[in-house]
């Protein structure tokens, strides 16, 4: 078998596998464009013959998708800012030194990384309500998400900092920087990309967060899109085209971000989990 033939065969199989794997996404879009009757047709059609684009406008209006997305955005941005501000310095110190204290710190961080949100939400909810934090529910959710996401961020960013040679920082010190200056002007610029990718990953997680928001935000006008989508899906719903349109609008910005930054996101993810 010639080299090109082999390559084409592999490529064809790979495309088939990818199409199979991504079928659920395709099915979401196709369903969202079907009419109410086409949706329940047997056999189902795999191509929207008369795409119902007005479904999107209808759902956007009737389900206040804009408001939900705005709340998701506020929560995600709040969590990212908090995590980045606090986690970057922590990751730097954990990357820079090698001793027993650092190992203990790392171990604690890894432990906190694995605590399931659905198990932590009970004490956090009760504690927050006792301290009156539930009066500002979005802030409460931002704090809870930040605590959940920060360990992951620290692990990712730490591996970025480890790739910045210590000699560069030392050169900065000898050239006249304080520790603060060398960190801000030498180390941070060199770790910028890794920090950015990690922040984007945290953003995506926070944008889709559900447990904390569902438990702590009662007022519909403050809920994020995940809770909005959940309340849209009653047990016996038959509005699947509308639900899929909601889901598509929700996942759209994330998919765009992912396609744009795919290479970096993949490398960022893999470096953090195994290194």
């Amino acid at each position: 078998m010639s080299e090109t033939l082999r390559n084409r065969l592999f490529l064809a199989i790979a495309l088939l596998l990818a199409a199979l794997y991504l079928f659920p996404l395709y099915w979401m879009v196709v369903t969202s464009l079907k009419t109410g009757s086409a949706m329940f047709a047997t056999p189902p059609s795999f191509w929207p013959s008369e795409p119902q684009w007005q479904t999107y406008a209808y759902v956007w209006e009737s389900r206040a998708v804009g408001r939900y997305l705005w709340n998701s955005l506020v929560i995600a941005l709040g969590a990212v800012v908090l995590v980045t501000a606090l986690g970057t310095g922590c990751a730097y110190v954990l990357a820079r030194y090698r001793n027993v204290w650092i190992d203990i710190g790392l171990f604690l961080i890894l432990m906190l990384q694995v605590l399931p949100a659905s198990l932590m939400v009970t004490p956090i909810f009760v504690g927050f309500s006792q301290f009156g934090l539930l009066a500002t529910p979005r802030l409460a959710v931002i704090l809870a998400i930040a605590a959940k996401a920060m360990p992951f961020f620290v692990v990712l960013v730490r591996s970025t900092f480890m790739s910045v040679p210590a000699e560069l920082e030392e050169a900065g010190l000898v050239d006249g920087n304080s520790r603060v200056g060398a960190f801000l002007f030498i180390v941070l610029p060199l770790a910028r990309n890794g920090i950015l990718v990690s922040a984007i990953l945290i953003f995506m997680q926070a944008f889709g967060e559900f447990v904390y928001s569902k438990s702590m935000i009662q007022a519909a006008e403050l809920q994020p899109a995940s809770v909005g989508l959940n309340s849209f899906m009653g047990p016996n719903t038959n509005e699947w085209n509308n639900i899929m349109a909601f889901a598509a609008m929700y996942v759209g910005p994330i998919l765009a971000l992912f396609v744009l930054l795919q290479r970096r996101i993949v490398s960022g993810l893999t470096s953090g989990a195994l290194k």
Partner: protein, 300 residues
């Protein structure tokens, strides 16, 4: 004061300052809740005592109550099935895909990266899509299975107690395949190519090479991937909320969903905290295994 300031600019104080704030934050928002969880699990908590810290101490009564309830053991069994089946499915399919994409061909790494899209999608969206795909009368999965002749009548994935848990497992496997595949790919690509060349010269066939080189060299990676799978699977909540809500009649309920359900649907915070404590212990054991299996890497 002056020495403190100069230590912050030039010395250890800088490092301590950078670590102190995040560690303090994590202590307040993860450490304390963790402890509070344990405290609540030995208290009597109801709607009236929710706002006060001084609740009646009841010892291990909550634990005793928990294990005397008829649904407890079935739910723990569901949790075990969910975990084992999810990990097995994710790992086997993920490993297969990783081995396939390990063959170098144009576009391999780009196509492989495309699979990760499932990882960045909100869990609720994934749940919604699978809810619709798994729908009984009009679900596309039933249609496909019927067309190829695997089943004759529709399966009511979400409402049939025999299938409800598997509905969530299918969605969770789909969600986890990409992560398994990517991590295993990284492990595969770190095996030196000349080992295979040497083995081939030594007369090892494809299967022998897989068994004697790939698997042993991948041991650390496989350990890490499986324990990460365990951790992620025990964190899975959104799919239950979006597909079955634990029903029908707890047939698809698992511990991590049940804990939330007890607290926030039945307002039994003490029981919610109790099951949380038990599960957190499990998760921590898994994470210790994970840390140990990646120990060399963690130490850099």
């Amino acid at each position: 004061m002056k020495t403190m300031f100069s230590s912050l600019r030039d010395g250890r104080g800088f490092d301590v300052g950078l670590v102190a704030f995040p560690m303090g934050f994590l202590f307040l928002l993860s450490g304390l809740p963790l402890l509070y969880n344990v405290v609540m699990s030995v208290q009597e908590v109801d709607m009236f005592s929710l706002g006060s810290f001084a609740r009646p101490f009841v010892g291990l009564k909550n634990y005793a109550t928990l294990f005397s309830q008829p649904e407890t053991w079935p739910i723990l069994k569901n949790t075990a099935i969910f975990v084992v089946a999810s990990i097995a499915g994710q790992f086997l399919i993920g490993f297969g895909l990783a081995l396939f994409f390990w063959n170098e061909f144009p576009g391999a790494s780009w196509l492989r990266g495309l699979f990760l899209v499932s990882w960045v999608m909100p869990g609720l969206v994934v749940g919604a899509i699978w809810n619709w795909i798994l729908s009984g009368d009009f679900g596309v999965l039933n249609y496909v299975l019927r067309s190829v002749g695997i089943i004759s009548g529709n399966i009511f994935w979400r409402s049939d107690p025999n299938f409800a848990l598997w509905a969530v497992i299918i969605a969770n496997i789909w969600l986890g395949i990409s992560f398994n595949m990517i991590l295993l790919s990284v492990g595969l690509s770190s095996i030196p190519k000349d080992l295979y060349e040497a083995a081939e010269l030594d007369g090892a066939g494809a299967w022998a090479r897989f068994r004697t080189i790939t698997l042993p060299m991948m041991r650390a990676t496989i350990g890490a991937v499986v324990s990460l799978g365990l951790i992620f699977t025990l964190q899975q909540f959104d799919l239950f909320a979006a597909i079955t809500s634990g029903g029908p009649n707890n047939a698809s309920n698992v511990a991590q969903y049940w804990a939330w359900d007890l607290s926030f649907r039945q307002y039994d915070f003490a029981q919610g905290a109790t099951i949380s404590v038990i599960m957190i212990v499990f998760v921590m054991i898994a994470s210790v295994i994970y840390v140990r299996s990646t120990r060399q890497e963690v130490r850099g």
